[in-house]
Amino acid sequence: MELEVLSLFLQQGIASGLVTGSIYALLALAIVIVFRTTDVANFAEGEVYMASAYLAFFLIAIVSMPFWIAVPATVFAVLIGASLFQRVVLTQVAAAKGVSVNLVIATLGLSYVLKGIVRATGFGDTPRSFPSVMGEGSVTLGSASLTYLDLTILGAALAIMAVFFWMFNYTKIGRAMRAVGMNRRASQLVGINLGHVQMLVWGLSGAISAVAAILIAPKLLMTADMGVVVTLAFAAAIIGGFTSLPGAVVGGFIIGITENLVGLFVSSRAINVAPFVVIMLVLIFMPQGLFGGKVRVRKV
């Protein structure tokens, strides 16, 4: 391969990788905040994302709602829906004092329900394309080229992350969320309402998933199975250590860039395998993930 082509591929791979990676990063964030504060690996994350895309599609293409109303309406609806799921279903399952696997099963239940609902509407039968409000056209950065839509996705995702990190680190409610992630009993002791925080975190994770869905949907053909992409978000979360928020973001970008570079340099058929090779490498050399901290010895 010539040097020029090599450099072009490298730049394009990284640029496109940042775009898809930002979506993985958002979804990984949604998974990690829920896991940290409620100890639940949310296996319905992919379907929350999928259902959000369909809800936005329904509002825009079927109800003909203006884009600028449909987007906040979708995000808000998913926020409420996810909060209610935590409040109504998960607290009941937890109160039944079963094994913690019950909570995971409950999220699997939610994923089937959401898929079922989307299929029942009939919109999920054939692949649909999501209307894009971005103009056609692209920008060249170095030798890489990104469409306006790509830039919007990357920019919006980064902005959401920035707001999110600010909230998590500098607001009272953010501190409460972090405290709950560290020690639940101590959190209640200092006066944090555990129930409210956990509900709010589920709501936020839903809102983030909805934003990710709306951003990426115009680039995809929507189907009821589009939620499988969340496997890559789980991969991103694992690479980042599964409890670290910066880790989730970095993990998302690593997965996105790896996929694109492998697609360009190796073969597009190798794309699906690449993220899992990365997971294996990370887990072999850094079993705690990149941001998971040191292996801690627990007293028994």
Binding site: M167, Y170, T171, K172, I173, R175, A176, A179, M182, N183, R185, A186, S187, Q188, L189, V190, G191, I192, N193, L194, G195
Partner: protein, 253 residues
């Protein structure tokens, strides 16, 4: 003096096991009150009922006359009830200072919009003051997990103080401390009680501390109160001696 905390006929059952049986106790405002008894007597269970982690099967607990038996755990901090745990419950990934500042959580702003705004300066000042008085100042920026055991126990007390408590519940604050550290704890608790007027209820096995600082002592054995009174009264109470040392007959066997 009036009772700040009144426990009336509290019974706690775990399945078939009765951990605490018809226990009553009143803690007077401004007092240092100790709850002692052999291992497994139900002392921590009583504590967990007061701080609303356990729900009593029967009975009533009132704080300044208000029935708190139905309240949630997180609403106790706002009512000025702070506690420490026997098996440390710290925010291990945070520094000493951050732990103490988080202790003040319930006292900052209450409206939703205010919750989004950063913490006021005075919380920091108050936290520094607490670190000074508890002798943790030199460890300000150490992570809680990096402290030795004695200082971790002290940090639990410091964080509890950040709540600005009227009632401080301490679950075995002296357990595992060296004698020099126990002396310092003695001084600290006495000064908190005398200068800040904080009522203290403590569960403790270290008799040196209990006898030195307590105004009043209640003794639990197998979930029942067997004695109550001043340190001297309790020390000489026949049932207390029996509970701690066993009866003469048993001792001979």
């Amino acid at each position: 003096m009036s009772a700040i905390l009144a426990i009336e006929d509290v019974t706690v059952r775990f399945g078939g096991l009765t951990a605490v049986n018809k226990f009553s106790m009143a803690v007077q405002k401004g007092a240092i009150h100790a709850l002692i008894g052999p291992n497994g007597a139900g002392k921590s269970t009583v504590f967990n009922c007061i701080s609303r982690i356990y729900q009593p099967s029967e009975g009533r607990i009132t704080l300044n006359g208000e029935d708190i038996s139905k309240l949630k755990s997180h609403s106790m901090a706002g009512r000025g009830v702070a506690r420490s745990f026997q098996n440390l419950e710290l925010f291990n990934e945070l520094t000493v200072l951050e732990n103490v500042m988080l202790g003040a959580y319930s006292r900052c702003d209450t409206t939703f919009l205010q919750r989004l705004t950063p913490r006021p300066k005075q919380t920091l000042e108050q936290a520094e003051e607490i670190l000074e008085s508890t002798g943790l100042k030199n460890y300000r920026n150490t992570k809680a997990s990096g402290l030795d055991f004695g200082h971790q126990k002290l940090l639990e007390v410091a964080r509890a103080l950040a709540i600005s408590p009227q009632l401080l519940l301490l679950d075995e604050p002296a357990a595992g401390l060296r004698s020099r550290e126990i002396e310092r704890l003695d001084e600290l608790l006495t000064s908190l009680n005398k200068t800040k007027g904080i009522t203290i209820l403590l569960v403790e096995h270290v008799m040196q501390l209990v006898m030195s600082i307590s105004d009043r002592i209640s003794v639990l054995s197998f979930g029942e109160k067997i004695a109550e009174g001043t340190p001297t009264e309790v020390k000489n109470h026949p049932r207390v001696i029996e509970a701690y040392l066993g009866t003469k007959e048993a001792g001979r066997g």
